[in-house]
């Protein structure tokens, strides 16, 4: 589904790229974990496949169409959903409105369907008492689940997450990873998670480690 060809990126110095000549393939219905030491360029790599930045070298293809061809804004709107470590939600809205807003912007098939958004939230353990409350009055774990619910109710087939469990405790981490697995296996989407934690990585279908400017498959 998603393929990188000769992908390379550097910030200032071309002679010191973060990674170079990366050829990887990500499939629908599968989950991928990307591990690596701090500062190796995991987030940078994710920003490229999320369409938040352009590669310096090589190209990324979605179903054999180049992201350049699709256009980054268009790609972000329709093809990819992102979960950040924090500040995922519009802090002036309820969980319900966060979902409805995302569905409206991405022009999702369920756009405007409150009942659907409500069901997705309920499914992730956000009860009716919470869905109309301002998101700032939700716990970190609850907020992260709302962020995951947002990716679930949008049509994008690719879900990327940067340290989605970085701020969560053990129980919440387990819960959040279970949901990502459901997205991959039940919704048939492609999930790519950047993480520090080996436990989290172990629960994904595939693991890669970024070291020495290359991605090494672990399992």
């Amino acid at each position: 589904m998603l393929r990188t060809e000769g992908l390379g990126y550097w910030y200032q110095d071309k002679e010191q790229p973060l990674f170079q000549d990366i050829n990887l393939e990500f499939e629908e219905g599968q989950s991928y974990a990307i591990l690596g030491h701090s500062g190796t360029g995991k987030t940078t790599f994710l920003s490229l496949i999320a369409g938040l930045d352009k590669p310096r070298e090589g190209d990324i293809f979605l179903n054999d169409r180049s992201l350049k061809q699709i256009g980054l804004t268009n790609y972000r709107r329709h093809d990819v959903a992102i979960v950040f470590q924090a500040y995922n939600l519009f802090n002036y809205m309820s969980p319900l409105n966060n979902l409805l807003t995302a569905m409206a912007i991405t022009n999702a098939s369920h756009a405007g369907d409150r009942g659907y958004a409500q069901r997705v939230l309920n499914d992730l353990g956000i009860g009716d008492d919470l869905i109309t409350r301002n998101v700032q009055r939700l716990s970190g774990g609850q907020q992260q689940r709302v962020a995951i619910a947002r990716t679930m109710c949008c049509d994008a087939k690719l879900v990327v997450a940067d340290e989605p469990t970085g701020n969560l405790d053990e129980d919440n981490t387990k819960e959040v990873i279970d949901q990502f697995q459901r997205i991959a296996h039940e919704q048939g989407k492609c999930v790519i998670i950047v993480t520090h934690e080996p436990d989290v990585a172990a629960r994904c279908d595939h693991q890669y480690r970024l070291e020495n400017k290359q991605f090494v498959q672990l399992g």
Partner: protein, 488 residues
């Protein structure tokens, strides 16, 4: 329009911040409105000044031309012993009528002055008070042999003379001279003269001509007026006591002067409808008359009101623009700070594939909601601020105004020829309607009222300020890299 909903949710959820923004915007708009209100009040005051202050145009003999004639004749015939005499041609009423037909002329007043001697009554000769002293002692009375002791001011209508329009003189009994008094022997006499001779409305009195056949004439008192003391002060030392001035129709004055003065006048004063076009009217009028006559305009009171209102208007304009610019800068700074604080939200919107212009539109809509409420508050408060500022401005411009009008004011009014005609009756400068117009110049109060036009204009300014401040601040949105949300 999803950004509209987001804007509303944001404004509603962050009430504290919204209220703060509303207060800041209200303060800015209030000063903008105050400026707008003062400006429109100044414009309106200038409009009213046109009708209230008015302007006059006077047709009289051309003194300059007459002087030139003397000079040339004296140089050519220097050998002859006869002294050259200044002869001023009386104004022809037919000329006046054709000028009166010009579109900008509202009404006109014919003045013809002469003197006569009292026959059936005694003139007021006492020098009571300061005015009497300055007008000279009793010895002054018979300085000019051809001059009588009673001043006859012939007019079309007393209501049209400046003495009466300025309320320097007032009718206390009966009525003033009207246009219909033309051809009659009706007169209006001063209160002091009336009481001294036990005269009242309906009585008749007899006067005696000073020239020609020196025949006597019976005149009928139709009204009594009271002259203010200021008019006596303005009268020259040659003139008789102001109480001896009798108003009559100009036809009566002409009759006393002699038969060749029929259909003439010393001068004719035209009331101009639109003072702003006074000089154009003068130009048009000059085409209708010969060079023996001259037309002079007096729109000084209109000009001085206009000048001071222009001052106020200019100042108000400066307020409007300064506040608008300062307000835009202040709001832009606030929005820039707001955008920095909301960069994660913007990043999430961008990561969802939202168009950047829609994000700018959301911020604009948020500010617009704030501005709409601020407009309502400013609409109420602006009137108050405008009233305070307006009265301050007017009092300030009045003081600067008085000094400027004293230099620009024409001395002795509009060059009214006091004793014109060959008989040269009285040499005083104080003919009818010759009071200096600068004395009555009074600045109108600014009427501060919030009209729909003002509010619409304020709305325009509010919109422009909002739009500009968002445009200035939106650079931050347009430059923001969505990747920044990931790497915080």
């Amino acid at each position: 329009m999803n950004f509209f909903k987001r804007a509303w949710l944001n404004v509603w959820a962050k009430k504290g911040r919204s209220v703060l923004l509303i207060l800041v915007s209200s303060a800015i708009l209030m000063f903008v409105l105050a400026g707008l209100l003062i400006r429109s009040a100044a414009v309106k005051a200038t409009e009213t000044a046109k009708t209230d202050a008015g302007a006059t145009m006077t047709l009289s003999a051309n003194r300059q031309a007459a002087f030139k004639k003397i000079q040339s004749s004296s140089s050519s015939s220097s050998s002859t012993s006869s002294r050259p005499k200044l002869t001023l041609t009386p104004v022809k009423l037919s000329d006046a009528k054709s000028i009166a037909n010009l579109s900008n002329i509202k009404s006109y007043n014919v003045t013809s002055s002469t003197t006569a001697n009292a026959k059936s009554y005694d003139t007021v000769s006492t020098s009571t008070g300061m005015g009497g002293n300055s007008s000279g002692g009793p010895g002054m009375k018979s300085t000019s042999s051809s001059s009588g002791d009673t001043q006859i001011d012939g007019v079309t209508s007393t209501a049209l003379t400046t003495d009466f329009t300025d309320s320097q003189s007032k009718i206390t009994k009966g009525r003033g001279i009207k246009a219909s008094d033309k051809g009659t022997n009706n007169v209006v006499i001063e209160k002091e003269l009336a009481s001294q001779n036990n005269l009242t409305v309906g009585d008749t009195m007899t006067i005696k001509e000073t020239t020609g056949s020196k025949s006597t004439l019976k005149v009928k008192v139709v009204g009594i007026y009271k002259a203010s003391s200021t008019s006596s002060a303005s009268a020259g030392p040659m003139s008789t006591d102001p109480a001896n001035t009798i108003y009559a129709s100009y036809t009566l004055a002409n009759t006393i002067k002699g038969s060749k003065y029929a259909g003439t006048a010393d001068s004719v004063t035209f009331n101009v409808t639109n003072p702003a076009k006074a000089s154009a009217t003068k130009k048009a009028g000059n085409k209708l008359i010969s060079s023996k006559y001259s037309l002079s305009t007096d729109d000084s009171s209109y000009q001085s009101i206009k000048a001071s209102m222009n001052n106020v208007e200019g100042f108000a304009n400066k307020i409007v623009w300064l506040v608008a610019i300062a307000g835009t800068i202040i709001l832009a700074l606030i929005v820039i700070l707001m955008i920095r604080e909301r960069r994660f939200e913007i990043g999430v919107l961008l990561s969802l594939g939202e168009a950047r212009w829609k994000i700018v539109a959301q911020f604009f809509t948020e500010m617009l909601m704030v501005i709409v409420i601020a407009l309502a508050i400013a609409g109420v408060g602006g009137k108050f601020v405008g009233n305070q500022l307006g009265s301050q401005l007017v009092s300030q411009s009045t003081t600067t105004q008085t000094t400027s009008s004293s230099t620009s004011g024409q001395p002795g009014g509009s060059g009214q020829p006091g004793g014109s005609g060959s008989s040269g009756m009285h040499g005083g400068a104080g003919g009818p309607g010759s009071t200096t117009s600068s004395a009555k110049t009074k600045n109108p109060d600014l009427e501060i009222a919030v009209s729909a036009v003002d509010l619409a204009e304020l709305g325009g300014f509010g919109l422009a300020i909002t739009f500009l401040s968002i445009m200035i601040a939106s650079g931050g949105i347009l430059r923001l890299e969505p990747k920044k949300v990931l790497i915080s």
